[in-house]
């Protein structure tokens, strides 16, 4: 069993060097697109448009892993939609098309977000949020949540290992029994996260977190020409997709 891979690794590709705010524009625009469209072909196009990003960012391997590790959810979403829609409409072809669309939509979202997180360092992200005038406490909370995803993933792996060592078999049993087998994984995961949160809070307060109203920063971000070019490309692509929508109406 392998867990999500969202860990940022310091690399120097064009995508890594972009300002996080520019990448955030990409994420927002393309997330809007994936939610807006329901046509599976267009959704597939949106997904494909994220592939060059992964290649340019030299993160193809990790990007593939994060898509692969969400396979469980992908199958789940497909089945859930399939059963749900078939139940209410009873039309088999429509059901298949919509289920496929929903599945591609989910894969695209995973793709877009993993590209963002795999190519953006937590520090950069934090800086850009501060630039966007978000209060420091929220920025820090968000940042820590992201930073602890890899820790959490590794911890989940260890917990799975520990319970398998005590004879827990995930492969066996029907769907209800399988779901029940996640209890021995989830409880230790939640408890040890809470324990860690407590320790971190204490450690931060003992190092004077929140002692003064203003704080200094080690480095700041600036937007450059390549960021504006990138944003322009994103907006142009976004507009093209919207035209596609109009086009499909005319048809």
């Amino acid at each position: 069993m392998k867990i999500f891979e969202f860990e940022y690794k310091c690399e120097t590709s064009i995508i890594h060097k972009l300002d996080p705010r520019a990448k955030l524009v990409y994420v927002i625009l393309f997330t809007v697109l994936t939610i807006y469209f329901t046509n599976p072909l267009i959704l597939l196009l949106i997904f494909l448009s994220s592939v060059p990003m992964a290649i340019l960012g030299k993160i193809v391997r990790k990007w593939l892993i994060s898509i692969k590790s969400s396979l469980f959810f992908i199958i789940f979403i497909f089945l859930f939609n399939f059963i749900g829609i078939f139940w209410t409409t009873g039309k088999i072809i429509d059901t298949i098309i919509i289920s496929i669309a929903m599945t591609i939509r989910f894969i695209s979202l995973i793709s877009i977000f993993s590209i963002f997180f795999l190519s953006t360092s937590p520090e950069d992200l934090m800086q850009s949020m501060i630039k966007l005038k978000i209060p420091y406490e929220y920025v820090l909370t968000f940042n820590m949540a992201i930073r602890f995803v890899p820790t959490l993933a590794r911890e989940a792996q260890t917990i799975i290992d520990a319970q398998r060592s005590r004879g827990l078999e995930f492969e066996k049993g029907n769907i209800f029994q399988k779901v029940k087998k996640y209890i021995p994984i989830l409880i230790p995961l939640i408890i040890s996260s809470l324990r860690r949160a407590e320790v971190i809070a204490d450690a931060m307060e003992s190092r004077a977190f929140g002692a003064s109203k203003t704080r200094s920063f080690l480095y700041t971000l600036t937007m450059s020409k390549k960021d504006f070019i990138f944003i322009s490309i994103c907006i142009i692509t976004f507009t093209i997709f919207l035209f596609l929508r109009m086009f499909s109406y005319i048809q």
């Binding site: 520990a162 398998r164 060592s165 827990l168 209890i183 230790p188 408890i191």
Partner: protein
């Protein structure tokens, strides 16, 4: 019994964690694995019950190739107590926690009750039986984790850093328990940073560093090799330091032996 043959392993393609591990452990042995943080000790242990499979070479346990055997099958014979008890405790009560493995392995009901009872007494946990494992102290949680594995009586026992957070009395209890289990014929493998613990109680010692086994032999020999230990940033056992300071050659980790040598030195001075 346990055999590693040219084993290589890496979590990520570009970084090898185990590099050409060769190791034989016989039935009934008691041995320690020591080495700096990140040396790959836990990774090596996870190969013994098949949680990790070698990418090159093979691991055989009780004649079974771990690549062809499920973890559950191996786990019935290999008990593995993890470094951090919080990674496995989840049940409402200590008693239920101990039952978990017994139920997984399909023990009959009367035997489950019997075994839980026995292990609660053996590990001094009777007074906590109906408490939640989460309200116990760190050292107590560690004992619950140990109990939850010992209860199904595996013939090989793996303990990842069992002495952490144990007070002196519990450490003595642990040592007694380990030697009792070992006398019953169980193979016990212990990973630890507690070098005095190894020097005093464990007959065979393996040193790992950077994914390799760099020493393997009787503890008396391995732990008195001061050059090797210092090169791998390991602390010398205190008795070895005393031996070195007094120019006793060869150094020793045996308390009685060292005392008699020191007595002799004193007597010679007095003459």
């Amino acid at each position: 019994m346990i055999e590693f043959h040219n084993v290589f392993f890496s979590y990520q393609p570009d970084k090898e964690i185990l590099k050409n591990i060769n190791l034989k452990i016989n039935k009934g042995e008691l041995l320690a694995i020591i080495g700096p943080n990140g040396a790959g000790k836990t990774t090596l242990l996870k190969h013994i019950n098949g949680l990790l499979k070698p990418q090159k070479g093979y691991v055989k346990v009780l004649g079974m190739n771990t690549k062809e055997t499920t973890v559950a099958t191996l786990a019935r014979h290999v008990g593995f107590v993890f470094q951090n008890p919080d990674h496995q405790l989840f049940a409402e009560t200590v008693e239920k926690e101990i039952m978990f493995a017994l139920i997984n392995f399909n023990f009959p009901e009367h035997e489950i009750k019997e075994r839980v009872e026995r292990i609660l007494h053996e590990l001094d946990l009777v007074k906590y039986r109906n408490k939640s494992p989460f309200v116990l102290s760190g050292g107590e949680r560690k004992r619950v984790a140990l109990a939850s594995v010992l209860c199904y009586d595996p013939s090989i026992l793996i303990l990842d850093e069992p002495t952490i957070g144990q007070d002196y009395r519990q450490k003595l209890n642990l040592i007694n328990l380990i030697s009792k289990l070992n006398k019953e014929g169980k193979t016990v493998i212990i990973v630890t940073h507690d070098i005095e613990f190894v020097a005093d109680f464990i007959p065979r010692c393996i040193i790992m560093s950077d994914g390799r086994i760099i020493a393997d032999g009787p503890t008396e020999e391995v732990l008195t090799n001061s050059k090797l230990l210092l090169e791998n940033s390991l602390l010398l056992p205190q008795l070895v330091e005393i031996s070195l300071a007094l120019d006793i050659n060869p150094p020793t980790i045996n308390f009685e032996k060292l005392c008699s040598i020191i007595k002799k030195i004193i007597e010679m001075k007095e003459l």
